[in-house]
């Protein structure tokens, strides 16, 4: 048996001690045996059997699609998040509306700490979301504004616009009447193409397209904020409408000329006194019925 054959036998583990000894006597083969022996001490990198098995099972389980399931779940969650987010954005982008019912006055604080006092039967809407960029309030009815200093503040009404930079003013916008009174600072009022600038104590009044400026006033706040409504040469119909709003009543004027003018005021605290304040000077009789109905007659 030659040495090469002995070497292979040794590598195959079936060589006797003497034969091994014989191989070792040859220096070439002694080196080969060293090489062979050291080689058997080598090891391959770690192989994670368990993890690989899980991976195999995933790849071999048809129908269950284990791999896809988490994606489906993720997709569901993502869709829900998207919907919630969209609804949130939508709700957030909606305008805020503040509504003062008949018979009530509401004070509302805007995001920039500006105050709005709403007279009875009035409403404002504005967008809380982009308030910083767009200080814009839509008004129907009557309200008093105490505007905090800052960027332009606009009050839009169906009739005209009021623009200010930190001031106090009253805006009245009902039917065809649009009136603005300035109590502090300066305001700029625009209706159609007309622009009027008001300073403290000044007021302007559009009635059916006709503009009149009111007398300079020393008032700090409008009358209605002190539970009183005041009129100067005002059509009776408007006075009665205001009365309806303040007391949340229905007024029926039978045979009474409601285009007559009225100058005076009425309180918000006592209907009887208020009715007397209006009716007595105009020689009108009134009759308070149940369910908040009031009927007016021309005095005989």
């Amino acid at each position: 048996m030659n040495r090469e054959e002995l070497l292979h036998k040794w590598l195959n583990d079936d060589l006797s001690e003497e034969q091994t000894q014989l191989l070792k006597e040859d220096s070439t083969y002694a080196t080969l045996l060293d090489i062979a022996q050291y080689s058997s001490q080598l090891e391959t990198p770690e192989f994670d059997k368990a993890t690989a098995y899980v991976a195999i099972k995933q790849k071999t389980t048809p129908g269950k699609t284990i791999q896809l399931t988490p994606w489906k779940t993720i997709a569901k969650v993502a869709a829900m998040v998207a919907i919630v987010f969209t609804v949130y954005l939508f709700v957030n982008s909606l305008d805020t509306t503040i509504n003062a019912q008949f018979g009530e006055q509401i004070t509302h604080v805007l995001p920039d700490d500006s105050d709005i006092i709403l007279n009875a039967g009035s409403a404002i809407t504005y967008n809380k979301n982009d308030w910083e960029q767009n200080r814009d309030v839509n008004l129907t009815g009557e309200a008093f504004f105490k505007v905090a200093k800052g960027s332009t503040f606009t009050v839009s009404t169906p009739l005209g616009q009021v623009q200010v930079l930190g001031t106090q003013f009253n805006v009245y916008a009902r039917d065809n009447d649009f009136a603005v009174s300035c109590f502090e600072g300066r305001v700029s009022v625009s209706l159609n193409d007309e622009v009027v600038t008001l300073t403290k104590g000044m007021g302007v009044n559009w009635s059916n397209g006709k503009m009149t400026t009111t007398q300079k006033s020393e008032l700090l706040e409008p009358y209605w904020m002190h539970r009183e409504s005041s009129f100067s040469n005002e059509a009776l119909v408007n006075v009665l409408n205001e009365l309806e709003r303040q007391y949340n009543i229905k007024i029926e004027a039978q045979g009474v000329d409601t285009n007559r003018l009225f100058s005076g005021s009425f309180t918000h605290d006592d209907l009887t006194i208020a009715l007397q304040s209006i009716c007595n000077p105009l020689q009108i009789t009134y009759e308070v019925k149940d369910n908040d109905q009031v009927v007016l007659h021309e005095a005989k």
């Binding site: 195959n12 001490q41 391959t44 192989f47 059997k49 690989a52």
Partner: protein, 171 residues
């Protein structure tokens, strides 16, 4: 086919996996030297075995796995340097642990390492199957689909090549 011989049975398949996964991994690693790719090829081989479990009897499962691993390897694997590490601490050469000897042994191991990496893929696979996996020539011949004579030839060539590289250094 007896039920406990059916590779399609989860339990049987799992047994086959436990018995051969590491060996297949090593086999591929001897060839390519890339642990991640070896991982992939092991998985692929077992996935193929599962998909073909009806056609492959238990007795043939092992050779099926080697064949699949080998074929897949030939198809796609990029070769990398085979990196192995030593595990045994016992030294066959001597019981004297003189500093000179330890240094010499360290150098010997380093050269052996690089010499193995420089072998041809065919030589290295046969050589390491024998040395690390402790497989007999007959088994290696079966795995590689060659004759025992061819295995002998590869072993001789591998040893000679390694010896040549190591003794060159020594001179």
């Amino acid at each position: 086919m007896e039920p406990n011989q059916d590779v399609c049975k989860e339990a049987v398949f799992s047994q086959v996996y436990k018995a051969h996964a590491k060996a297949i991994y090593n086999f591929v690693y001897f060839k390519c030297g890339d642990s991640a790719q070896s991982d992939d090829l092991v998985q692929e081989a077992f996935v193929k075995l599962w998909n073909n479990c009806k056609k492959v009897p238990l007795a043939k499962a092992k050779s099926f796995l080697y064949t699949v691993a080998n074929n897949t390897f030939l198809n796609e694997v990029a070769h990398k340097k085979v990196v192995l590490k030593y595990v045994g601490e016992k030294t066959p050469r001597s019981n004297h642990y003189s500093p000179e000897f330890l240094l010499e042994e360290k150098q010997f191991k380093e050269r052996l390492d690089s010499a193995i990496a420089n072998l041809s893929e065919a030589q290295r696979t046969a050589f390491l199957l024998n040395r690390i996996e402790g497989k007999k020539y007959k088994e290696i011949a079966d795995i590689l689909g060659i004759s025992v004579k061819a295995v002998e030839k590869r072993m001789s060539q591998a040893l000679a090549a390694i010896r040549a590289e190591i003794t060159t250094f020594n001179k």
